[in-house]
Symmetry: C2
């Protein structure tokens, strides 16, 4: 498995994309906000979506369009979530039609996604104006513009791609995502699109995606709020020419491992670029009775406001980590817990067998002043392991979210 | 029922208290940090405690001391939580002994509580020095000093008392509490002590306390973190001379309603003085299928970081309220939800039948600029109702928690 420099959704064979300034928010005259991704041919496809009962109309329609396991293109916008709008389904349907007409494909093969403010009517004119133009500039270089077009409060574009060999053929998987706020486990992103030229059945694609998401996007939390628009979709067009993956054999494993690695990279990118974040926080739990317990414990730590604020303040107040483990709901023996911090600045043990250690404050500061901090929790009860990804809680999170609409 | 001006734990007959500067944190030379409350006679007593698996040694010992349903005094400190310390049980025991010796009572009738930093060894010298002094200055005016002595990052003292008539006798209930951070439902406070001169059996006292807590302290969240030290204890000494309450009759109801009203006042005080808070946020949910659903929905709204930041920013982004309702886990029909905001500045409807309304931004600003904001959620599905209490998320929350230990 090899990561491709500057890779993204147009890295796999047969995919093109484009992004443009559509002016979905009338005040926006400079940032790309509408994008399309398309495959030359119909793809097998799978998706996972928000579990919030309040859903964007785009999510409702995409789930419907994915029922037959095929898709050929994606249309997405930022600046408006198309959620809690009386005419939401009509607008989402119109977006699919515009994309289908411009690309000459079936409208039921279009994936639609929106992100931005909830509860404001989505203007359709920007799409009527922009989608035909987009169709005219779709290219192999367009993936990065598509990544920009879905950004909201993100400060960096999130894109990546990996290359593997399946059945003697070079297979590529590419991804773009946007995250930033309203991000919580199940799922940890608002929008992410994955493309691959692998030949794989819709059933195996869905299985691989579920496996990958479970240990990546679903282990990210920025602020504990599960969005109404979370959408992760994968399209596989088979252009690589490998023998189609139809069972959970060796090729399935290779493909799923690569997809998982790719999704983990994106999960870390999402966490590191959380709204207002200055640090990526990783919690690695080991020695849990079960994998489920390890996941619960790791997520509880990275979700704690007090732990997040402490990481921002570079203060090794490990009592807060014990506290978050204690209320996690997972079955632990407090008197067996060891905790340490590690980063490029070194590592330091702060708790052994549930009791705090006297530690070198200077070394702690050196470890915690880095940009990527790992909190290691050893429960000493079994072999369950998990990793969760979060970020610090900062003044800027409050600033960004205190007045998001204006 | 009548609230008593400047009332607190020494308002009921037969209770005295005192607070003093003990220097639990060596750097503290001015703030009261050790306190005692005592009754002239042995009381019936009940308590509810943190459900966090990581518990202060003070909590462990107090639960044990309350097993027989009696108690006579409280000793508590701020500045150190006595949690995650290898010698924690020994120190908690020593605090009880010192109080019992100084007051001339049985050490198993002492309630002990600590609040402050987790994982630092509790120095016992400040108690050896201060507790005999405290015993010498216990008075009917000392309740307010006791309230000060348990404050950590609290900015205001929290005390209240009510007077009721039971069986022709004047009965008083008084309370003090400290809150501020690491506060979450189950329970919404770190420490709170209630005293009453009512005659009531230990069983009925526990029942009344549980009822009251359920709709007050347990409906408060500041930051989602359930503390390791949460302790709420009530002592009843029977000095009022009413016939002892031993069943759930009319007197039980009068007493429990008064206790509930008192706890609700304290819950609002705790929420309004949350770490860094500038506004009290109340979410009232009505029309839920069940009371349980209403509670779940109300708590989800006041716990949402995005809603909290929005209230700080005085931005009527009601989509975030819908979002929090949608992921609450409660059984709701999104298409039936109405939402409005109200305050002393007026009221404004922002969502009807699950769709956002176009509303007057000027009026919204006028409603949201007040100090106490109520979010009204009507689910239109049944008769379940609940209220939850929270606060806004501010720069100062991050500042306070970024470097708490120093």
């Amino acid at each position: 498995m090899k990561f491709i420099e500057n890779g993204n959704v147009t890295s796999p064979g047969g995919f093109t994309a484009a992004g443009a300034v559509g002016g979905v928010k009338p005040s926006n005259t400079t940032k790309r906000d509408i994008m399309m991704i398309a495959s030359d041919t119909v793809c097998t496809a799978a998706g996972v979506f928000t579990k919030n009962l309040v859903k964007s109309s785009a999510v409702v329609l995409t789930k419907k369009n994915l029922e037959n396991g095929t898709a050929q293109a994606v249309i997405a916008n930022s600046g408006n979530a198309n959620t809690c709008n009386a005419d939401g389904m009509e607008k989402a349907g119109r977006m699919c039609e515009l994309a289908a007409d411009a690309l000459g494909i079936d409208k039921s093969d279009v994936i639609v996604a929106s992100t931005g403010v909830i509860g404001q009517v989505l203007p359709i004119e920007p799409f009527e104006r922009t989608v035909p133009q987009l169709a005219g500039i779709m290219s192999k270089e367009g993936g990065t513009d598509a990544a920009e077009a879905i950004m909201t409060t993100d400060t960096v574009k999130k894109e990546a791609a990996v290359e593997i060999e399946l059945d003697g053929k070079k297979v590529t998987i590419g991804v773009i995502a946007k995250g930033s706020g309203m991000i919580h486990i199940n799922m940890g992103t608002m929008l992410s699109f994955v493309t691959t030229d692998a030949a794989i059945s819709a059933e195996m694609l869905h299985s691989a995606l579920t496996e990958a998401v479970d240990v990546s996007y679903n282990m990210v939390s920025i602020d504990g709020d599960t969005s109404t628009n979370d959408t992760l979709v994968i399209l596989a067009n088979g252009k690589a020419g490998n023998e189609e993956i139809t069972t959970r054999g060796a090729d399935y494993r290779t493909f799923t491992d690569a997809l998982t690695a790719l999704c983990r990279v994106m999960a870390k990118k999402l966490a590191a670029d959380g709204e207002g974040a200055t640090k990526l926080m990783i919690c690695k739990v080991s020695g849990a009775k079960t994998t489920g317990d390890a996941k619960t414990a790791a997520k509880s730590v990275i979700c704690s406001s007090l732990v997040k604020a402490m990481i921002f303040g570079e203060d090794a107040n490990a009592g807060r980590i014990l506290c978050a483990l204690g209320y996690s709901g997972c079955d632990i023996d407090v008197d067996l817990i060891d905790v340490s911090f590690s980063s490029d600045g070194g590592s330091i043990s702060v708790c052994e067998k549930g009791s705090m250690l006297a530690f070198d404050e200077e070394l702690a500061k050196k470890v915690l002043c880095e940009k990527e901090i790992t909190i290691l929790v050893e429960l000493n009860e079994g072999s369950g392991e998990a990793e969760a990804y979060g970020c610090d809680l900062t003044y800027d999170y409050v600033k960004i979210n205190g007045d998001y609409r204006t």
